[in-house]
């Protein structure tokens, strides 16, 4: 029986499809109250006064807290989990982010007060009657503008709105000289626009304090409940961790936005103790738009030098990264260690330098969003490559093949050391591109394109060959880079007396299908039916510890921890089996759910051994009863999935509308446990990446108002915007984890965006246009082709 590598249907889908998922907002507790936050309509303003007198009198109001109450209570703001220092060694600016602000609001949506009432509607009604007197101040929303002389300051103690500056790579002077001496230099000045994660389930949190046993429970929409517990207990509320249970039940999508510890979680937990009743808060969609951490938002100038043979000589990057008004949990890591480190791409570029300024603005906080830094790096590189090909009149596929790092397996050949701190594990970059070119029928396409052009039709093809650092990752490494937490994963494999298996994992599924994929691994390794395995996650009371799910790390790190525990179970099982079969453990082999004495037909089943372990009457001396093992797995390196994406678009001259005709994705995510789930992850990621290329993006006005804060105006990609994706893969196993897996969660989103934009630019070559700012909307395209 091999389950690994087969497209087992997702076991969790039965409850999801039948509407029986249990999300945070589905939880109803006795005596529960409801919270509604009073949020600033302004991006930057002094709070002159907050008057709660009439609101307090309204029907159903239980309690109202203001920023002043929070300040007086002595509880802290939410912390940042990653520290990046200035170039000169100074610590980054880390302004407080209180649960409710008392004196000044710093982005539209900043929380000023919270109303707790008997019903949600009553809380909302009363919140509208909380009178806040604001003195409105000028705001700044663009990261580069924020660093200029005279820009309004977000935090008084962060001059020029600088949180930190940072650089990585080869000595700047060497890179400068190489760029200067290059035969050709391609330059792009662009904005990688801010996008909103838009998980379908809004954030929600229920705080429940039980006085009789002095215990708190927080139910929350979190991608990593244990980290939320740690941050909230140790840094915000100062309450003992063992008194707090954090449950993250079914979660309807996160895309990064639910990794972070948010003020609302701590507020409902704290306030529940004050009022002695449970408190539920669930974001309205309009609230999600302005309070869920956003993604991307870089202002970048990138220059790539080439020699006369088209070999890349150097890459020089200057980026202003917008962090928003406050530092979200992982915000400093995203534009730095998850972005600067990926600027090698798949290429042998000998000299690379990035100079970065991380900047506060009067906008919603920015943090990891599917891909987190890696899509920004990929966009930068892949746009440069296609633009350079256009400028130099060479073929973009050829240009890539010429510059690719040669294949290496990471076992017999060493990993590839980049100029920007990483060592790639294994890769065969030529193969993914060759495969994608074959799928697309490249030569035929170019002929078709030529014919189309002669008929006045605009067809274009765009490439993107990407690499990502996933399986985040070795604790010592991330610690040296500023992480304030380790990034291992834990797993407990508990074999029940009847041979059924419960697995407790610190990874958290919010769409990824862990209950299926993990179970496939466990069932296969034990040789038992899939139905005999249960995957438990998302509850700090049942799962020992966990670092959660993001950075495509669940299987590579969490799955590896499970494998470690499985190995321990089998090792102990073998001792018990040896006793029962009267042989030595070395004489046994395990296969098909039983231990067999090599070369004989004497065997004993997994179920028998499980029962023996719990009913140890006839039992080896010196062996403990029970069959239950925990492991922590800390990888030795990141994993490095890679791939080649190709988009084909047609541009309608009359309307400027871009129609995506085909999308080809060849990804190498290492070994594959469930191909259907991997394909699903790729499909979703590609759709999201296309979303950024063609549709999505925040529109802030100068005063800091988010103008498209609803689905009437914020364009999400939809099924009818997308062609049938043509996906395939190559398999280059990860050499350093036991499953050989690399991670598939972000690949689609990282690869797709530049492929689509490149395709539009290729279609527009007759007009000599080389860049259009994302999202590439119909209006923008029409404007440029009409010279507006």
């Amino acid at each position: 029986m091999t389950l690994i590598g087969t497209s087992v249907k997702r076991v969790e889908d039965k409850r999801f499809i039948t509407g029986k998922g249990r999300y945070t907002d589905d939880i109803v507790l006795p005596q529960m109250t409801f919270a509604y936050f009073v949020r600033s309509p302004y991006a930057h303003a002094n709070i002159k006064s907050v008057d709660i007198s009439s609101a307090s009198e309204m029907d159903g109001v239980v309690k109202i807290y203001t920023g002043k109450d929070i300040a007086e209570s002595g509880i802290n703001g939410v912390p940042c989990g990653w520290q990046v220092d200035f170039k000169n060694g100074d610590t980054m600016k880390e302004p407080p982010h209180p649960l409710l602000v008392a004196d000044k609001v710093r982005h539209a949506g900043d929380a000023v007060a919270v109303v707790i009432a008997e019903t949600y509607a009553q809380a909302k009604d009363a919140a509208e009657s909380v009178m806040v007197d604001y003195e409105v101040l000028p705001a700044v929303v663009n990261a580069k503008a924020a660093t200029q002389e005279g820009a309004p300051l977000v935090h008084e103690d962060a001059p020029n709105n600088l949180c930190f500056d940072w650089e990585l790579g080869n000595p700047k002077a060497e890179v400068d000289a190489a760029i200067e001496g290059s035969h050709h230099v391609t330059t792009l000045d662009f904005i990688n626009q801010r996008v909103i994660p838009n998980a379908i389930e809004p954030r929600s949190a229920i705080g429940h304090f039980e006085g009789h046993n002095d215990r708190y429970t927080l139910y929350t929409t979190s991608q990593n409940p244990h980290l939320t517990r740690l941050l909230m207990c140790a840094f915000v509320l100062g309450i003992p961790e063992h008194k707090v249970r954090v449950v993250s039940p079914d979660v309807g999508g996160g895309f990064g936005s639910k990794i972070f510890h948010y003020i609302e979680e701590a507020l409902v937990t704290w306030a529940s103790k004050q009022i002695g009743r449970p408190i539920k808060w669930t974001a309205e969609r309009s609230e999600s738009f302005v309070t869920d951490a956003h993604g991307r938002d870089h202002v970048t100038k990138a220059e790539m030098g080439f020699d006369k043979d088209g070999k890349i000589t150097a890459l020089r990057v200057k980026t202003y990264a917008n962090l928003g008004a406050y530092l979200s949990t992982f915000a400093p890591a995203v534009p730095t260690w998850l972005h600067g480190t990926l600027l090698q791409g798949l290429y042998t570029t000998p000299l690379i330098h990035i100079d970065l300024e991380a900047v506060f603005t009067h906008t919603t906080a920015v943090d990891a969003y599917r891909g987190a830094g890696r899509p920004e790096a990929t966009y930068l590189l892949e746009r440069l490559l296609d633009t350079a090909a256009l400028e130099m009149g060479t073929d973009p596929a050829e240009l890539r093949l010429k510059n690719f790092i040669q294949p290496f397996d990471g076992v017999t050949q060493e990993g590839y050391q980049t100029q920007v701190a990483l060592q790639y594990d294994s890769g065969n970059y030529h193969e993914v591109l060759h495969k994608a070119l074959k799928m697309v029928g490249y030569e035929d396409f170019r002929a078709e394109q030529k014919a189309a052009r002669e008929n006045g039709k605009l067809l274009g093809i765009g490439f993107s060959t990407y690499i990502e650092a996933c399986g985040i990752a070795p604790s010592a490494v991330v610690g040296s880079l500023g992480a304030r937490a380790g990034l291992y994963e834990s797993a407990q494999v508990r074999v029940q007396p009847t041979g059924k298996v419960s697995v407790f994992t610190g990874a958290h599924s919010h769409g990824q299908g862990h209950e299926t994929t993990f179970a496939q691994v466990v069932a296969d390794k034990f040789g038992i039916p899939l139905e005999d395995v249960e995957i438990v996650h998302g509850d700090s009371e049942s799962v020992a510890f966990g670092m959660g799910t993001y950075g495509s790390r669940s299987l590579a790190v969490g799955g590896s921890a499970i494998v470690k525990s499985i190995e321990k179970v089998l090792e102990k099982g073998a001792k018990i089996a040896a006793h029962k079969l009267e042989c030595s453990a070395e004489d046994l082999e395990y296969a098909g759910g039983k231990w067999t004495v090599k070369g004989t037909d004497k065997s004993i089943s997994f179920g028998d051994i499980s029962l023996t372990a719990y009913v140890p009457h006839d039992y080896p001396t010196g062996v403990e009863p029970g069959l239950d093992f925990s492991s922590f797995y800390d990888p030795t390196n990141f994993t490095y999935p890679f791939g080649a994406h190709i988009a084909i678009v047609e541009v309608d001259k009359d309307t400027g509308k871009v129609t995506l005709k085909r999308f080809i994705a060849v990804d190498d995510v290492g070994n594959v446990i469930n191909p259907m789930i991997v394909d699903g992850q790729i499909h979703g990621g590609v759709a999201q990446g296309i979303g950024q290329a063609l549709f999505e993006g925040t529109i802030y006005d100068e005063s800091g108002q988010l103008l498209n804060a609803s689905y009437m105006d914020y364009v999400m990609p939809r099924a009818d915007d997308l062609p049938n994706f043509e996906v395939d893969r190559t398999v280059t196993p990860c050499p350093h984890n036991p499953l050989g897996v690399k991670g598939a969660g972000e690949a689609g989103c990282i690869g797709a965006t530049p492929a689509v934009v490149n395709a539009v630019m290729d279609a527009l070559t007759p007009y000599g246009i080389h860049d259009i700012e994302m999202p590439v909307t119909s209006q923008k395209v029409w404007n440029v082709i009409n010279g507006n």
């Binding site: 009604d125 309009s286 549709f695 105006d713 914020y714 999400m716 209006q779």
Partner: protein, 283 residues
Amino acid sequence: MVPYKVSYHKANSVAEAIELLNKYEDECKIIAGGHSLVPMMKLRLAEPENLIDISGIEELSGITETENFIIIGACATHADIGRSDIIKKHAPMLEQATNKVGDVQVRNFGTIGGNIAHADPAADWPTLLLAANAKIIIQNAEGTREVDADDFFQGLFSTDMEENELITAIYIPKSAANRNSVYRKFPQPASRFALVGCAAAIEVRNGKVANARVAFAGVSATPFRDSGIEKALEGRNFNAESIEAATSNVANGVSVMQDHFANEKYRRHLAGVFAKKALTDLA
């Protein structure tokens, strides 16, 4: 997203609905499909104290015909209209529009009466009714009155209707123009309402345009017929040349809306493109 407190009343007949309208005066709103009103209430942009539900009133449902008219009940849903053979035969543009309104849920709930009463400038039906030369039947305590679509739409979310009135039906003439009609729409990519929509009904007699009605959605705060196009076509041969000439200066003199999806110039241009597409379909 919760509305303010609201009381709900179910009307079982038109008479009862009118009675309730007069009882609650300006403190009530009719609810039909709820697919414009409820979102407004949830966003707290509308705060009726009383809702009068007309969705179950038998007299307001269904699509029937007389010798000269198709009669669409005010509570006919987009989906009802899309399924009607009468519509298909006599006014194909109406059927085409139903596939372009919202999504399946919206089409199963939203009604034509609610859509035109709401008078969203980007909605599809107002423009279609202008092109179709429809009559809107309105009832109040005194009786019924009939308003031409041309006179019904008065501005942004504003119509020729009083608060105590009810739309009961829409009359679509069985005309040669309506039989030769089409709707083309360029959806706003987020809302999928019309960034620009063009409805055209053209009667061609002896190779010449005898009667042209061409109307636009999404272009201006009020849906409008483009008399420039209509006049340019009437009496001419209906061909590529006359269409090109007629659509060269669309929405002339009309104040054009702007938003971040389309500034004035682009929107005007799109109106021209879609007018040309629509007319070309019919020629």
